[in-house]
């Protein structure tokens, strides 16, 4: 958490040219002053928290309660304790969606981050039209899930999609992207990759630019090739950034929902075989196709626990790294 305010009469006073003070006498004004200082933080966080509690927290807590009920939309809730959780862990569809979430997550995260790293490296050179390149990389990030999925769904068409046409040049038969098992997952991974690669590349680029030039110079003096410099200077310098993007992308992958939903034309079954039914879709299907809100809430909470697990993993990994003394947490 935040760095503690140093004790009074600390080096700061000296630093900014004040003589260290003793406690001032407590007049009304200074009492008010102190009161204000005490109350101020609450004032700052109150608008946020009021809104947050009403429209953020309440729905979430309420969802937790719903998960303990048999609640079919349109009928009253009936308390059933952990029945929904029992159902979930006995449900093959749950394990299917868990597995699909993982595979699509890997398919979209790994290439995405590798590409982003390579791109960042290229963008780090001095060049003309540098900004054009950077902006075009970031454009997909600004496109809505709906728009990008719509375009890619056409590109991945079975009978007259662009990608199948390209494949036909090299004599590959038309691929039924949407209905195939791995192919549908690849298609969705492509959409995710297209949207997020440029964004991650910029973050890596920022990390690269903060690596001290001296290290490169020293490496060059030692006769290190460009590749060796990249391996032994750039990568270690980027390690914290890379770790973080890995974890963050993983969390994003866990919550993947819009792309598979729209890729399936709004169908929550994630393909006839459920081949791209992620946890998010599974939840949506239970809640909004089958109106089993209790089960939907349960899936949501289990997903949440998974994500928290990933975050803990993140902090665990973070502990390994040598810390900057001022770094938070």
């Amino acid at each position: 958490m935040a760095v503690d305010t140093p004790p009074r009469a600390s080096r700061t006073d000296v630093a900014v040219g004040h003589a260290p003070r003793s406690e001032p006498p407590l007049g009304l004004r200074s009492r008010l002053f102190r009161l204000e200082a005490k109350a101020a933080p609450y004032l700052y966080i109150s608008p946020f928290f009021l809104l947050f509690v009403a429209f953020g927290l309440f729905p979430l807590v309420w969802t937790a309660w719903i998960s303990l009920n048999d609640f079919k939309l349109g009928t009253p809730m009936v308390f059933v304790g952990l029945e929904n959780y029992r159902w979930l862990f006995a449900s093959p569809e749950f394990y299917n969606s868990l597995w699909r979430t993982i595979t699509i997550g890997i398919l979209s995260t790994v290439p995405q981050l590798m590409l982003a790293l390579g791109l960042a490296h290229l963008l780090n050179y001095q060049m003309v039209v540098r900004n054009f390149f950077r902006i075009s990389m970031l454009m997909p990030y600004a496109t809505s899930v709906a728009a990008s999925t719509l375009v890619f769904a056409q590109l991945f068409g079975r009978d007259n999609g662009f990608f199948n046409w390209v494949l036909s040049w090299v004599g590959i038969d038309a691929v039924d992207w949407r209905n195939g098992d791995l192919t549908a997952q690849i298609a969705i991974a492509v959409i995710v990759t297209w949207r997020w690669t440029g964004y991650n590349a910029l973050i890596y680029l920022a990390g690269m630019q903060s690596i001290s030039q001296d290290l490169y110079e020293a490496a060059a003096l030692d006769g290190a090739s460009k590749w060796q410099q990249f391996r032994h200077v750039t990568l270690p310098g980027l390690r914290p950034t890379i770790l973080f993007t890995v974890v963050v992308s993983t969390i994003g992958a866990t919550q993947l929902f819009g792309e598979p939903l729209l890729f399936g034309n709004g169908q929550a079954n994630g393909g006839a075989l459920g081949q791209y039914q992620t946890l998010g879709l599974f939840m949506y299907q239970q809640g909004w196709d089958y109106f089993e809100l209790g089960r939907a809430a349960t899936i949501a909470w289990v997903t949440f626990v998974l994500v928290v697990g990933l975050v803990l993993l993140n902090t665990g990994i973070a502990r390994w790294r040598t810390r900057d003394r001022k770094a938070v947490r």
């Binding site: 009928t75 093959p92 719509l150 068409g157 909004w288």
Partner: protein
């Protein structure tokens, strides 16, 4: 109707179009400003009625709302439609539950009517206790039955129904040497097996990339639409896995899929299904009356005269889809709302809607009135007569609360046979497992 362009008998199964989520119907039914109890009948007081529908009921398109406002000074109608029934319904459920937010008139898809007459029975105005009582006898029997609760209350007035036939591409059938006259074609289809046999003939001489029918799921829906008992029995028990009719329909559709007689589309979901109407990807399609408008829209002007329509094999009568208008109990203008709903579903208005978009009337007077209608687009087929006969003979289907889940899983299983080469028995078993897990 295209009840939501047909998520037909089952909402969940064929989502309308691009996107899933969609908004909910109208805003809070604002009682007439100051209208004391809302029942401000013809006292010249002004009243605002809110109408929330889904998909394309064809009422707005036929100018009915404007006409009503004109004929009833003081009434203003604010109309609102949500395209996807699959998102319209959950939103409505939430509002009915909350006891506020529903409109004065809400559309109900036939796949939901069972839920409306059971779990939600107390959320609707019982129309037998209103002016509409006299009009209730005018709708097709099966239509009326489905909207009646155990206690004899009626929750909705029928808008349209989905008498089902077969639509076909006359040009493609001709090329393949098959008959193109509706009667001749019907004569060659004494049964669903004959229909598949014709498909084999078609396949033998059809152009590359043109299949006999669009999808196993559509075929299944057409076959099952002619049954009275499907997934539930009279007592409300789940009988889908012991009902021979279901398995027979499944096996037949699976057969068609395995024999490559289908174009392997998921209806309403597959983006390439739509262009298939125009580019000859399939020669025939199971055709509820509301599909006529859909075909016209997708195949466009160049498809005019290249299509025909005939009855289902063996002259079986089936119904696929349709909808109702209900008045939520939370409405503050019940009396006025019932009046409007009566007017909207009266013969004259249903005829107009049919003329405008092909949604077939559920009101028997209107059914008779449109009997002479022919459709140029469908090679002048006597659509009024074809669909009218089917409508009169369609069985009263026993509907259940989870028909949607069942239909969804079964059509899904058929799709896996088509596109993932799953063996039919395996597909059936997975569907059973999924259904049991979902409903268990």
């Amino acid at each position: 109707m295209m009840t939501s362009r047909a998520r037909t008998a089952i909402a969940v199964m064929a989502a309308g179009a691009l996107v899933a989520l969609a908004g909910c119907g109208g805003e809070e039914a604002t009682a007439a400003e100051g209208g004391a109890d809302g029942g401000s009948s013809a006292g010249g007081e002004s009243v605002e009625l809110t109408v929330s529908l889904f998909g394309t009921f064809g009422m707005e398109e036929a100018g009915l709302f404007d006409q009503y406002e004109e004929e009833n000074p003081g009434v203003t109608i604010s109309y609102e439609t949500t395209q996807g029934e699959d998102t319209y319904w959950p939103a409505l459920l939430t509002k009915l539950n909350a006891g506020s937010g529903a409109s004065d008139i809400q559309g109900i898809e036939v796949a939901r009517i069972r839920t409306a007459t059971t779990e939600l029975a107390d959320k609707w105005v019982d129309l037998t206790q209103t002016e509409a009582a006299d009009q209730l006898g005018e709708y097709a029997q099966f239509k009326q039955d489905a909207a009646t609760t155990e206690d004899g209350a009626v929750v909705g007035l029928g808008t349209d129904i989905g008498p089902t036939g077969i639509c076909y591409r006359t040009d493609l059938l001709e090329e393949a040497g098959l008959p193109t006259d509706p009667d001749e074609l019907a004569a060659q289809m004494g049964s669903w097996e004959d229909y598949l046999a014709l498909g084999e003939q078609y396949k033998a001489s059809a152009p590359e990339g043109s299949a006999w029918t669009d999808s196993a799921g559509g075929l299944y829906n057409a076959i099952i639409s002619t049954e009275s008992e499907i997934y539930y029995d009279e007592a409300g028990e789940l009988v889908y896995d012991s009902n021979p009719a279901v398995k027979a329909a499944f096996d037949l559709s699976a057969q068609a899929a395995a024999d490559d007689l289908t174009a392997k589309f998921a209806q309403f979901e597959d983006p390439e299904w739509n262009p298939g109407f125009g580019n000859g990807a399939f020669a025939t399609i199971a055709c509820p009356s509301w599909m006529l408008g859909y075909i016209k829209g997708q195949a466009g002007d160049e498809g005019s005269g290249k299509w025909g329509v005939t009855s289902l094999p063996g002259g079986a009568a089936g119904n696929w889809g349709g909808a109702y208008l209900g008045v939520p109990a939370s409405s503050e203008n019940q009396e006025e709302a019932v009046k409007l709903a009566m007017w909207l579903t009266a013969p004259e208005q249903q005829e107009k809607v049919f003329a405008a978009g092909g949604n077939f009337p559920s009101n028997t007077t209107a059914i008779d009135a449109v009997a002479d209608t022919t459709d140029e687009y469908f090679s002048d087929a006597p659509i009024g007569q074809i669909f009218g006969d089917i409508a009169k003979n369609a069985p009263t289907q026993i509907l259940g609360p989870d028909d949607g889940v069942l239909k969804n899983e079964i059509t899904n299983a058929l799709l896996t046979i088509e596109v993932n080469d799953v063996d039919p028995e395996t597909a059936w078993t997975s569907a059973q497992r999924a259904i049991d897990n979902q409903l268990g």
